[in-house]
Symmetry: C2
Subunit: 148 residues, 2 copies
DNA sequence: AATTTTACTTGCAAAAATCAAGTTTTAACG
DNA sequence: CGTTAAAACTTGATTTTTGCAAGTAAAATT
């Protein structure tokens, strides 16, 4: 029987989570980090930079520069907050939205393909298990620290 | 209901899989990539460099340099193959073994803590689901390509 | 025997990460 | 209030990683 760690290690490896690049959309090469940023911003509307950087656990200075790149790529818009002038709020541009949606589509398709190798019962079990796992991680006192 | 992609995205984020650094062992700062390398080498005895690099999906040149670093850190040993002189075989040094075991211990403890927030039935279900998922990914035609 | 392929290393340039310092604005405190 | 401290970002400088191309040596192919 595999240990928990082995299961996770295999999963991480199979998903290619260590890969630098995520996907091509149109003529754009999107990195993994960029796709995560697009995802986080699409989940929140007008989120402060700090909040998104924290959500991703990346250093704010690295994040700041990454945002600058993505603004140049016309994926992200940065607007000053009215309430607090120190804060800049992030949102997706029209193109950013398109790209985020395209990535979403690709990933969903990819996952569908993976799940197509299971029967209905297994699919449901696995999905429910992932939700359980996420819930347990949310409760964990050690989670999201640099351990993995 | 969350989409599959959301489930995965959350999981990846909660696990901190995007973090650069993995863990401290003694006075050593081990990066995520290094811990993956230690893991892969510990799973195989005397594996050729190419094989390990492929297993991790990293570019062989990047890998070559990383190995050089880890040799300097006295974590890895590289010995020329007798059978084929192009090939170098990788193995862990004594210290490398200690470090790998310590990481293994930490991760297992971490995972135990996470799983402690579930009941017995849930634990088993989740573990079985992960094995199912890994199996499905192994069968997938699109898996481990730079999509995620 | 000549050519191709494989396994690995090295050089170089681009991207990313880290750390420290600096700006501006808000919050906190005596 | 007014001064000080903290928060939210940006920028600069240095180091690490990465990716691609080119190079070397050994094995496989023809």
């Amino acid at each position: 029987m595999e240990t928990k760690r082995e299961l996770f290690q295999t999963m991480v490896k199979r998903f290619g989570l260590l890969n630098r690049n995520c996907c091509e959309v149109g003529s754009l090469d999107i990195t993994m980090v960029q796709s995560q940023i697009l995802y986080e911003i699409s989940k929140r509307s007008n989120a402060p930079m700090q909040e998104v950087a924290d959500a991703l656990g990346t250093d704010i200075s690295t994040f700041s520069r990454q945002i600058q790149n993505m603004i140049k790529l016309d994926l992200i818009k940065k607007s000053p907050s009215e309430a607090d002038k120190r804060i800049y709020l992030l949102s997706l541009t029209e193109q950013g939205n398109k790209v985020a949606q395209e990535i979403q589509r690709e990933m969903e398709a990819h996952l569908d393909e993976i799940f197509s190798h299971m029967n209905e019962f297994e699919k449901e079990t696995v999905l429910r298990s992932m939700a359980l796992l996420n819930g347990a991680m949310a409760k964990s006192s050690v989670c999201c620290k640099p351990i993995f």
